[in-house]
Symmetry: C2
Subunit: 305 residues, 2 copies
């Protein structure tokens, strides 16, 4: 799956991923009205609204982008019904040949991490049947519990030829509280990065590993160091756009082959129609605004790296 991701990025010349993180207040009124008319102001109604919203964006952008990254929290907030919309979104994106990165930030130990792994990027055995629950291509994983938490994901991914992105340095302002603390005069995120490179050797693709890393666009100097520590690691870069990361800061996340990083934008794409720059599209054409924002983002990034 890492080979497919790399090949799609090359073919489209688009090292980007669209974050499908639908807040209900991003969803145009006409979509909400229709969903609430059909299902009421219920969890089911909310789930229908975000699913229809996502579908519009996927339809308007799938030919330009290699991947989408649905953030499961935005679905889980609506309970079971929300998670059904997550599953529908994953399946629909895959039907459009998009690579799906489930932003689930799970992490536990041993058989518990394995349970998350089979649920999201593997198969589960029930009696004599082998079943596929959520079926993303990649998921994000939290490393705080150490190798016991991460290697069960890798074991499952080796079977399924899928992959993970491990949180190394996150894009948020307080990420330094623990991640930047100095251990033997080096920040913790560097040690995590080294461990990611080691984990990566357990499951290599052609040029890059199936074990990627998350490094926020908001910390480009750290990105430069982590790029060197993890040469074979694909870096998923959140924080571009709405969170303040600029295209000119993204060069250090890429290798000399022009590969090695995939930049995420969520709000900047999916709620583009709310920005002044794309206001002319109007609510009805929110998905066209998203397409225009994708085109701008691809240009912005490929011209600057």
């Amino acid at each position: 799956m890492i080979n497919k991701l790399v090949s799609k990025i090359k073919k489209l010349n688009a090292p980007i991923v669209v974050g499908l993180d639908p807040m209900l207040n991003y969803v145009p009124e006409y979509i909400k009205k229709k969903a609430f008319d059909g299902y009421g102001e219920t969890l089911e109604g909310a789930a229908e609204a975000i699913w229809q919203f996502n579908k519009g964006i996927i339809d308007a952008t799938y030919d330009l982008i290699p991947a989408v990254k649905p953030q499961i929290a935005m679905y889980e907030q609506f309970g079971i019904e929300g998670l059904k919309a997550f599953k529908k979104t994953v399946d629909y994106a895959k039907s459009k040949d998009l690579v799906v990165i489930g932003d689930i930030k799970r992490g536990d130990i041993g058989s518990t991490s394995a349970a998350y792994a089979v649920g999201h990027v593997g198969t589960v055995k029930v009696g004599n049947q082998v079943l596929t629950p959520f079926d993303e291509d990649f998921v994000t994983v939290n490393p705080y519990l150490g190798s016991d938490g991460v290697t069960p994901f890798i074991d499952v991914c080796k079977e399924s030829k899928k992959g993970i992105f491990v949180l190394v340095k996150t894009s948020n302002p307080s990420s330094g509280e623990f991640q930047d603390r100095l251990v033997d005069e080096r920040p913790l995120y560097e040690l995590v990065g080294e461990q990611v490179a080691k984990w990566g050797e357990l499951h290599m693709g052609e040029d890059y590993s199936y074990v990627g890393a998350v490094v926020g666009a908001t910390y480009p100097k750290m990105g430069e160091i982590l790029r060197k520590i993890m040469p074979k690691t694909y870096i998923l870069v959140p924080g571009y756009g709405a969170q303040g990361g600029k295209a000119k800061d993204l060069a250090p996340y890429f290798n000399e082959d022009g590969l090695g990083a995939i930049v995420n934008s969520s709000r900047g794409i999916i709620a583009a129609y709310k920005q002044e720059q794309y206001a002319q599209y109007g609510e009805q054409n929110y998905a066209d605004a998203s397409r225009a924002a994708v085109e701008f983002m691809i240009k912005d990034i490929t011209e600057n790296i």
Copy 2:
């Protein structure tokens, strides 16, 4: 909800929680057969089997215990159907007046952490309706992303009078890989513990905070230090029993008032009938074996702390 938890622990003299982490191979054959006969060897069949298994254990133990801790990964591995069984388990345990700790180990940033929080321990607004998706009383939270990841949970919990347990020092063998690394000559978990104590001040109950901590039973010396760093923090202690933690090692996790810690056992209780000690109950009476294991655990812990 922390006050309710403390008062139930006192009343029952039982500082324990039963981990509802149902692996399909813990479930007696007759329950699986009935579930698969009704729903096939499907995700729905698996979900039905673990739900019926849980219900039996809750019915057999609810009068002895203050709380249960369903581990969501064990449900999520069966996709949407599994998560429905999680929700049924939460609701059923609450109908028996048990405090429910959702072991979800979530953690993200800002509005994303808030989305997890409203989904699990808060309410979500859809149009003019205020809805309650999963409705646990407490959830576990991963601190790797810093305050941006944790305080949104606290904000939601202040509204709902619910709480969280933050991972500080986990029970697994490799937990030291990052958690034990020395920062200014002190292990990282101590810094996380100090931060938990600070976060705890944001949402205090009568004697203890709504912000608890997870500290594994397998590291009693670290437990002793963390107890002192976080005097008002309830400590959720996994790792007793099957993972190797002994009752005699648990005293340091408690305060002098005999409170301040709640010890979890999962496999040791729910799969008790598979142990030699309880084999006489047989598969049919697995829930009675769980009750006997709960009685033993309560005695073992209260005599040793």
